[in-house]
């Protein structure tokens, strides 16, 4: 009986071993220069829960991320896996300072994708040095580490009043259209930009995307005024269909029945039956369904 119990115990112990052996072999594969990139990425993907349990091994993984001689795909996969672990590893907080320090080292990395992703992660953590770097790059383009539109987008994770000043400058004198749009998005809570957005919305020569952004900003900043503009735009037969559709959406979803005159209702009903634009007809239908008389 004792011999049977002993051999059962041995079988159990043997059954436990493979799991521990696998984790060790995955760690070894991650660091091994003899494995292919694919094998190393696969080994990494099997580690997320264990990633932060061993600080020494975690720092080895961070070293891969910092090592510009490693392949881009391995470094990017490493970044994603560490980021994934940050969502769940019970003791990730212990590893977080080293993780953030590594991200800061990547903000001037030669790999643009890694740079942008590291900057994004730091910006979302409200990292002060990252914000200063992004603002600096906007003020002096020769020092920029990412394109201006990307810098503006990342600054949107932590809006400060000093960001408004730069965004206003870029909105007025943009290096490119993408940067202008991102600057306008940032200014969506800037009360000083209301006159600019009002002029933009009413300018039929302005780009449609900018006018729609203006509508969105005004709906947040001066909602009653935007509702008034929207009513005028909808009843203007010469205005752009997409701007009209955005206006109708604002009236339907963010307006109220008390402001819907008979003239407006009839105007929208006419759009619903006669417009050649599918989007405009759809938004008119929603309006009529909500304010049906």
């Amino acid at each position: 009986m004792k011999a049977k119990k002993k051999s059962k115990a041995k079988v159990k112990a043997k059954a436990k071993k493979p799991a521990a052996a696998s984790t060790s072999s995955y760690w070894a594969a991650v660091s091994s220069t003899k494995k292919t990139t694919k094998q190393r990425i696969d080994a990494l993907s099997r580690l997320p829960a264990a990633l932060c349990e061993d600080r020494t091994k975690f720092n080895e993984v961070l070293a891969i991320l910092r090592d510009t001689t490693q392949s881009s795909s391995l470094r990017r996969a490493t970044l994603q896996i560490i980021q994934s672990a940050s969502f769940s590893a019970p003791n990730f907080e212990v590893c977080r300072p080293d993780y953030l320090a590594t991200l800061r080292a990547l903000v001037t990395d030669p790999d643009l994708e890694l740079r942008q992703r590291a900057l994004g992660m730091l910006a979302r953590e409200h990292d002060g040095s990252t914000q200063r770097l992004l603002v600096d790059g906007l003020e002096e383009p020769s020092r920029a580490v990412v394109p201006p539109e990307k810098a503006l987008q990342l600054l949107g994770y932590d809006i400060h009043t000093d960001v408004y000043a730069i965004a206003r400058k870029i909105a007025a004198n943009p290096p490119n259209e993408a940067a202008r749009i991102e600057a306008l998005r940032l200014l969506g809570a800037d009360t000083a930009s209301v006159p600019m957005f009002e002029a933009m919305l009413q300018d039929k020569k302005e780009k449609v995307d900018a006018r729609r952004l203006a509508a969105s900003a005004l709906q947040a900043l001066v909602p009653d005024k935007l509702q008034g503009y929207a009513r005028d735009i909808v009843q203007d037969e010469t205005d752009d269909d997409d701007v009209k559709a955005t206006s109708l959406t604002a009236l339907t979803d963010l307006g109220h029945a008390g402001t819907v005159s008979d003239a407006l209702y009839q105007s929208v009903d006419k759009i619903r039956s006669k417009s050649k634009s599918t989007a405009l007809k759809q938004s008119a239908r929603r309006f009529i369904d909500k304010y049906r008389r």
């Binding site: 980021q83 994934s84 979302r124 409200h126 701007v243 989007a279």
Partner: protein, 406 residues
């Protein structure tokens, strides 16, 4: 002679929403003029049943039938029974299912209701998408609405309440339930859909639904989509850059089958917090890829609805509804606060003394017209028996389109 029908213990229209789990109902005679004795009635789905379908049970554990014959006492006493959605026939619109009560050939009463179910977002109809985005946009109200509280519940300071410990799944289940109930206060026909992240989802990532990302990662919406007015933290719009082709592939996650294979006990199964959950988040650049900002993107809630659906499906596969069993939750009593079966959960417990976060946005968990559980200050364990399998009073009032009642 009339009859009155109570669904979810009420005759009010706002309670006429059922799922796959049995809803308590009753019926009684009212206006007893001309009533000389007991009256036999038959309840059924009014044909043609084009939308949701339902069945009846005379008792909670009895067989389900498509019609139910009841004898109603002459003096008006109520007769109890149960109604439940007939799996998998969920409604497409509010009140598209009708209970018809007949006495012989005479129709005494017709009551419209909805079999309201959380569905795969990529398979929703146009009207369903429209109602959902409209309700969500109204809830956000250009950054001024109650959604601010939900955004502020999921930040770096509160992360220990919700991540990295056994309460991860129950906390997020409560979070989604609270949000869904708020959406239902705006439009009761809305149920939170899920993003099946291991499959392509081109309809979700479209201009009319959760938007299409440009090369920068700024999400674009059609001119008819009210989400174009979405604002969080004072900034218009959503930043989301897929690192995979949303039209042709799923996110970089393990499959559903691989998720269930993590283990039949809760402890190993909860490793899904890393993959597929963490991997789904980090299959993007942008807000959804970091804990402090993830809830700024409405996609977050559909992502977590799928995480929750995976847990619900795993529960059914393994009969894991009893919070007192190790297999259903794992060791308890020595975990971090907020992660033991009997712990109340922040922010709904409104506790702001250490080690809890210093603020508790949002107040108590929203009430529901269709269920009393899990209460305004739920405990971790209250979210495990979500269908009321172990205790009928534990039913919280949601179901998934591919997870039938246990």
């Amino acid at each position: 002679m009339n009859v009155e029908l109570f669904i979810n213990n009420s005759a009010l229209p706002r309670t006429r929403y059922i799922g796959w789990a049995p809803s308590p109902c009753s019926i009684h005679l009212s206006n007893l003029t001309g009533v000389t004795g007991p009256v036999t009635v038959e309840l059924r789905n009014k044909p043609p049943a084009k939308g949701g379908r339902f069945v009846f049970r005379r008792t909670l554990t009895g067989p389900s039938t498509t019609t139910l014959r009841l004898v109603l006492p002459a003096k008006g006493a109520a007769v109890n029974f149960f109604m439940l959605g007939q799996f998998p026939h969920a409604s497409f619109a509010d009140r598209d299912a009708v209970v018809q009560v007949r006495s012989g050939a005479h129709v005494l009463l017709e009551v419209p209701l909805m079999v309201r179910i959380r569905k795969n977002a990529n398979l929703l109809g146009t009207a369903e998408v429209s109602r959902f985005v409209a309700a969500f946009a109204t809830f956000n109200n250009q950054g001024l609405g109650r959604f601010v509280d939900f955004r502020n519940m999921h930040v770096a300071a509160s992360s220990p309440e919700a991540h990295g410990a056994p309460g991860f799944l129950p906390w997020h289940r409560a979070y989604l339930l609270d949000l869904e109930r708020e959406l239902q206060a705006i439009d009761p026909s809305v149920a939170l859909p899920y993003w099946r992240f291991d499959q392509p989802a081109p309809k979700i990532f479209s201009l009319g639904f959760l938007g299409v990302s440009n090369s920068l990662g700024t999400v674009q919406f059609s001119a008819t989509n009210p989400l174009q007015f979405w604002r969080t933290d004072g900034v218009t719009g959503i930043t989301r850059r897929p690192l995979f082709n949303t039209t042709t592939s799923g996110a970089s996650v393990i499959t559903e089958a691989q998720t269930f294979a993590l283990g039949t006990q809760y402890a190993p199964f909860s490793a899904m917090e890393g993959n597929p959950h963490g991997n789904a988040h980090t299959s993007f650049g942008g807000s959804i890829s970091s804990i402090p900002t993830a809830a700024r993107d409405p996609l977050f809630f559909l992502l977590h609805a799928n995480v929750d659906r995976l847990w619900a499906k795993w529960q059914r596969l393994n009969s894991r509804y009893n919070a007192g069993q190790l297999a259903s939750f794992g060791p308890t009593g020595t975990n971090r606060i907020g992660h033991n079966v009997n712990d109340t959960m922040w922010p709904w417990n409104q506790i702001t003394a250490p080690p809890r976060p210093s603020t508790a946005p949002g107040g108590s968990l929203a009430n529901s017209a269709v269920a009393t559980a899990p209460g305004s200050k739920p405990r971790v364990g209250d979210l495990i028996d979500y269908q009321g399998v172990v205790a009928p009073a534990g039913r919280v009032g949601f179901d998934y389109d591919d997870v039938r009642f246990a």
